[in-house]
Symmetry: C2
Subunit: 193 residues, 2 copies
DNA sequence: ATGCTTGTTGACACTGTGCCAATAGCCGGG
DNA sequence: CCCGGCTATTGGCACAGTGTCAACAAGCAT
């Protein structure tokens, strides 16, 4: 049973550890899972984790980076549609993505600077920012710092609504779509100055 | 200098510990501050923390409960105003509260179930729920489970917008007020079914 | 085969947490 | 005014979890 000490390429082993960790973190909180467990799940000595990631937290961050970011995959092409239509289609696509993909995304909502020196907050922020850019592109608007600042909160809103819909069942999908579409339009329009 | 072992009423000492802890947690993440520090800051032996709270996490939760919840203080009376006016006045009041009060509130945005078995998430949820009720009352609408489900995400949105405004400076107060007011109206109106 | 490179291991030291019996404030009765 | 008891408070103990590091060995090159 004792795995006869296999030797892998660094990138490969690194990924293997991350994958094992992701499964554990999927339904257990950060400080509830020990490095010992992490190591065992990956079939690896405890020391190796420190060797590759230096730190337990750093491994966690690596996992988050992988699971939180929305798929870069380009959105469908909405050439020729009106702004309203594009907004709705985009939100619809996001809701789909959330269903299959976004458990971690929703969960991490705002992992908050409570947690660790706000490293996590930074990652969540980056995810939101990326989502904002994605949406701007999909809707066909130019990418400006100000517009992005307006859209980042929409990402937070989206996550909260998805939580109500998916985890609490207190909103229907249709209702969520309506609300989010209108919100998106609201935040995109009425530029001041 | 050695404090000659003062004996206090349980409630008093408990509060004293919480207050000291709050200051530490104000600008340092949870697991970065040790029980030793907590104890020293409160001028108390380490064991006493476990005596009163049982657990380090439990103390943290106690602090959160105190700092996250919005002031219960009743909102001004908006008798005779239109819905739009009341929405704007309410949001204006909330923005004020956020300025002075809500650092922790914003910070904790969605402390997430990553952190600890989702105890914290529960607290944040309660805070959001309370905020939702508060707003419903202020705006003069009946308190229904469904309306509350719609308003909780607005709480998340509000926090995100406040973060852009207060911490990043990427939105002006006026802009934030506009966006939030319209959003609030959006989520309150168009009841389905 | 044999040596070298480097991925991998296991043991060690240390910090931080929770627990518990011992200590000593404070308030009451004598 | 002194004394005894209730209980708030302490300090030390045991243990779990983390990071470090020198030694080990798998695979490649020669």
């Amino acid at each position: 049973m004792a795995a006869p000490r296999l030797r892998l390429a660094p990138a490969e082993r690194r990924q293997q550890i991350i994958d094992a960790a992701r499964q554990l973190y999927a339904d257990r909180p950060y400080d509830d899972v020990s490095t010992a467990e992490l190591a065992e799940a990956a079939g690896v000595a405890r020391g190796l984790i420190n060797h590759y990631f230096g730190d337990k937290r750093e491994l966690f961050l690596a996992v988050m980076r992988e699971s939180i970011l929305m798929p870069e995959r380009a959105l469908p092409d909405y050439e020729g549609r009106t702004l309203e239509e594009r907004a709705r289609l985009t939100m619809d696509w996001i809701l789909d993505a959330a269903t299959t993909y976004g458990q971690a995304w929703i969960a991490a909502s705002g992992a908050a600077n409570l947690h660790g020196s706000s490293d996590i907050q930074a990652i969540v922020d980056e995810a939101d920012d990326r989502a904002a850019r994605l949406v701007l592109d999909a809707v066909g608007l130019p990418d400006s710092p100000h517009l992005r600042a307006r859209l980042r909160p929409v990402a937070a809103l989206t996550k909260a609504v998805c939580r109500e819909w998916l985890q609490r069942g207190s909103l229907t999908r249709a209702e969520a779509l309506d609300l989010l579409t209108d919100s998106l339009l609201l935040f995109v329009r009425k530029e001041p100055t």
